[in-house]
Symmetry: C2
Subunit: 214 residues, 2 copies
DNA sequence: ATTTTCTGGATAGCTTCACTATCCTTGACT
DNA sequence: AGTCAAGGATAGTGAAGCTATCCAGAAAAT
């Protein structure tokens, strides 16, 4: 497949593809001859990944680069991968500035919720930053709510890990790593939109239970 | 409080405050005299809100404007608020382009998961878009995983609604609406970071159970 | 064999977002 | 009276993410 065909079939304009090439998001094609490179299905897949991450998840290209770095060259052990690469994974949220108060909040509540072995992951920082902001804006942290969140998070995480084919000999460790990294980021909007839908559902239900006086 | 003092105490530079004023994110101060405006604690709070939404949640100012619109002039019924304003609420994710396939996926799975009364909310569109992307990238939808997500989402949503002081006569309906709108967006990163932490936790646990052959 | 097409590389331009800086007039405190 | 500062208008900045143009030269078409 030549560049023009890649652009054709992927629907991504040529200049954009060149841009991704320059930015190191898309590997160069294998040179079929001195001046023409050959692109394969892997390039198509990668293009779909880039566009999808940007358009659906809103992650900056910088973060996509980190993700494809993990996909191209994943740690050998799938077990290590989840933990080790979690920090490289894009979130769509900006990297929060670490304040003392946020760190302290995170430490306290993570302990309370039973997340012991988690030292200083970016996720913990984001957790602290969000709690600090909520507090700042007059929505103080509530233990009952947080433990419900922890339960929900563990439910979701359990389902995530259940899908990973850990011991599958047919799947190389790198593929497993890619699978889990991708699943982690791709299902974030799924969980969030379901939460909003569930809120609407419950609000409606409680409206039925207790009709507002007219 | 004069502009300079507002800038001083909030830590936001004067030009930025002027920018927010121009953009309609911050209401004008009450004119203390012809050329000097008086800013109050509400302005400080609003500034904290703006900066927090941008810095912690990464929402574009455009979306913050939608949110403050809801806060400034919320629907009277707190019940109606959640449902009606959910569509105005920022997400940090871009508005997904609605494809047929995504819509169909959303319809099918929402039905499967028992979300019946939900027609065409933005959340449903995002849900569909995310599923379509995952499928496209080789992570097909898995019913068991999705129903775990639905359970998790309902758990979190239940905790959200439990905190809302529905019938509290001391809290005006507008304050209740503001509270729920803010809670909805502020706790999104909390849930997400807990999921990642729970993944790491579970991965570690399964590593202990079944040590990799060395 | 010659013409046309297209490639990869380089460079420059564009658009949006979120500020940031400058200028100016006019009113306020001292 | 004189300096200071508010507020409005306008323009400039910088990053992100493209998009457009130009070019030398190899490949394909005729």
């Amino acid at each position: 497949m030549k560049l023009a065909e890649l652009a054709q079939t992927s629907g991504v304009p040529i200049p954009s593809i060149k841009y991704y090439l320059r930015a190191g998001l898309l590997p160069a094609g294998s040179p079929r001859s001195a001046r023409i490179a050959e692109y394969g299905p892997a390039h198509l897949h990668r293009l779909r990944l880039i566009r999808g991450m940007v358009e659906v998840l809103g992650v900056p290209l910088e973060s996509v680069r980190a993700l494809v770095g993990v996909l191209d060259d994943p740690p050998a052990s799938p077990l290590a991968t989840l933990g080790a690469t979690m920090s490289e994974l894009p979130t769509g949220f900006p990297e929060p500035a670490a304040t003392d108060h946020a760190a302290q909040l995170a430490k306290h509540w993570l302990g309370e919720l039973g997340f012991d072995a988690v030292p200083d992951a970016p996720s913990a920082r984001r957790f602290g930053a969000a709690l600090a902001l909520a507090e700042d804006l007059g929505i103080p942290v509530d233990g009952a709510q947080l433990s419900a969140y922890a339960r929900a998070a563990r439910t979701a995480a359990g389902a995530d890990l259940a899908r990973v084919p850990w011991g599958d000999a047919s799947a190389p460790a790198t593929a497993v790593a890619a699978f889990s990294a991708l699943g982690t980021v791709l299902f974030e909007p799924v969980l969030l939109s379901l939460r909003r839908l569930a809120q609407a559902e419950l609000a409606e239900a409680s409206a039925q239970d207790e009709p507002p006086e007219i």
